[in-house]
Symmetry: C2
Subunit: 341 residues, 2 copies
């Protein structure tokens, strides 16, 4: 039988001690980690970048189909993605959780296994947090800290006319992964039938265990590329490129046939009679990097086959458009993940 | 009639824009604030201190008697208190909230009024955050960033035998404020009678609108005092001094007659037939600073009548004790605010 230790048997401080007992620091800049009122980070000669996310059960994740270990991993990764999106290197995270007594210590250990796996993979230190009881589901708040050489960070407002619009990886898969999981959940609730994921490992994995594009930032550094603007694709490509256009005061043209979509994504989209382009434009949580570069960087970008050049920046007056395969021009509209609508 | 704007009418990004439209940065180290994937902080030649807290409706606050403006103020202040407890100066905060549609935009504006009031008073910049919908009450996560001269931060593990144990301000009032508010809530629910706070402004204010002890850190700097250990009193004096003893591997003696308790607190405690000493030892959320200093700093500490010297540090083998007014010796036990028990 699986062991179940009640959280109350450890108490808050016992729980923190227990969950952080194997925590080791990896960064020289981590002067002081978990266990005091605050953590201490030393960033002499660098600039500090900070990002934070709040993840709520029933809004951002469904524990019915989200393994806790994956959830812990993803909670860290989505924050690191924001730091990379600034062209910075994450160095520390702080993590707060609110949990009800429906969770056992073993369940939280699984969650932290994922947290530590992400910290290990991305070379960041968990340096603090807060643990509290919740009457109302599982609540996760992560703040990531990163560093960047002075003024080397990349914002959303630097896109200039004729810049190339680029994206790493492929788009829409996480949304399709969510769609299949929601479908199987509904079938299970109605009929009791076990989930049939039809070997959809790629799209399900993109949702449940996303990665942050550390490699992209490293490629930029190695090849002397400084994007003019950048952000991560968390709300959906169309919503996100509109942010860059708004903040840079420019317009854009995207090409439907340039959007990178994985074959498994296309296949499953067709099966559901969904338009793969719509999934790529509006699906969120891909955590790819969307960036613009000056045309003089074309060769360097083109040399990396993990990047797609999907369009270019125009004057603001030219609007924000997408050219379809058939050559038609449509206005881009945000249909991202607006949790508040 | 009061205006009520549905949050959905603004959307997530509209809401962030709306709530941060008057946000101004105050610190030179704030290179980039709200509106990108991350904030950028420049701490050349200083060390960065980070602290985070998660505040949940129904666990940490009750909106039945907590004005939203006070809640916003307190959410920031409790984090700043942790930064001061490191002997550091807070410079930035990031704030994430989860809200359900039971809240109007006006309600959130009230909350942010409090947030900005705290930022203004303590000279910190709000530099980012996350806003999401919640199905499950109001959720607040704050991470504060501070700076400190290299290696000038004060931890919990530096208390040495014969050090003086000191505390700022007075203790137990926030707990008594909570007690009166809970009592009046119960009476209201049972009888509909309006709250009678009996002019208990001090104790109620200590709970609803606490302050962080910036002035204490400033006094230390002016008078060349470096505490050997320090933390803020958030869980209750006995629980907190036991943390210092554990992490410093020492014991302690406290004197009941030295515990600073406000007259209004005493008066109300007696009225409820509570022991004011028990309230001071076990009541949480006072956000005073508990610290130890070398005896050679006695004069400097004694010269500030906002400080109380409440005991001294002993060898670990001597245990953790309190000497009562009657001269009896009792073992100190943690009876702080353990949300998980």
């Amino acid at each position: 039988m699986e062991q179940r230790t009640e959280i109350a048997s450890l108490g808050e401080f016992g729980l923190i001690d227990h969950l952080t007992r194997n925590n080791e620091t990896k960064n020289v800049s981590t002067v002081l980690g978990v266990g005091d009122d605050g953590a201490v980070v030393d960033h002499f000669g660098r600039q500090t970048v900070i990002s934070t996310d709040l993840l709520l059960e029933g809004v951002h994740f469904d524990l019915m189909y989200t393994p806790l270990k994956h959830l812990g991993y993803k909670s860290v990764v989505v924050n690191l993605s924001d730091i990379y999106a600034m062209n910075a290197t994450p160095t520390q995270v702080v993590l707060s959780i609110g949990v009800s007594n429906r969770f056992s210590v073993e369940a939280l250990e699984e969650f932290y296994e994922g947290v530590y796996a992400a910290c290990e993979k991305y070379g960041v230190d968990l340096v603090g947090g807060d643990t509290t009881s919740s009457r109302i589901g599982f609540i996760i708040s992560v703040t990531a800290i990163g560093e960047v050489a002075p003024d080397a960070y990349v914002k959303r407002d630097g896109a200039r006319v004729n810049d190339l619009i680029c994206v790493s990886g492929d788009l829409g898969a996480a949304f399709l992964g969510l769609t299949i999981l929601e479908r199987e959940k509904k079938i299970f609730q109605e009929t009791g039938a076990q989930p049939d994921l039809e070997n959809r490992a790629y799209i399900v994995g993109r949702l449940l265990k996303p990665e942050a594009r550390k490699d992209v930032i490293e490629y930029f550094a190695e090849h002397g590329i400084v994007p003019t603007s950048m952000m991560d694709v968390s709300d959906g490509l169309s919503s996100d490129i509109l942010h860059i256009c708004k903040q840079s005061n420019v317009g854009c043209v995207l090409y439907e046939d340039k959007l990178p979509i994985n074959e498994e994504s296309k296949d499953f989209a067709y099966k559901l009679e969904l338009d793969p382009t719509a999934c790529a434009l509006s699906g969120g949580e891909d955590y790819e990097l969307l960036f613009t570069v000056n045309q003089q960087d074309y060769e360097k970008i083109n040399a990396n086959n993990g990047f797609s050049i999907i369009g270019y920046i125009t004057e603001a007056s030219a609007g924000k458009t997408i050219i379809t395969r058939g050559g038609n021009k449509h206005e881009l509209v945000a249909q991202g993940w607006n949790h508040l609508k």
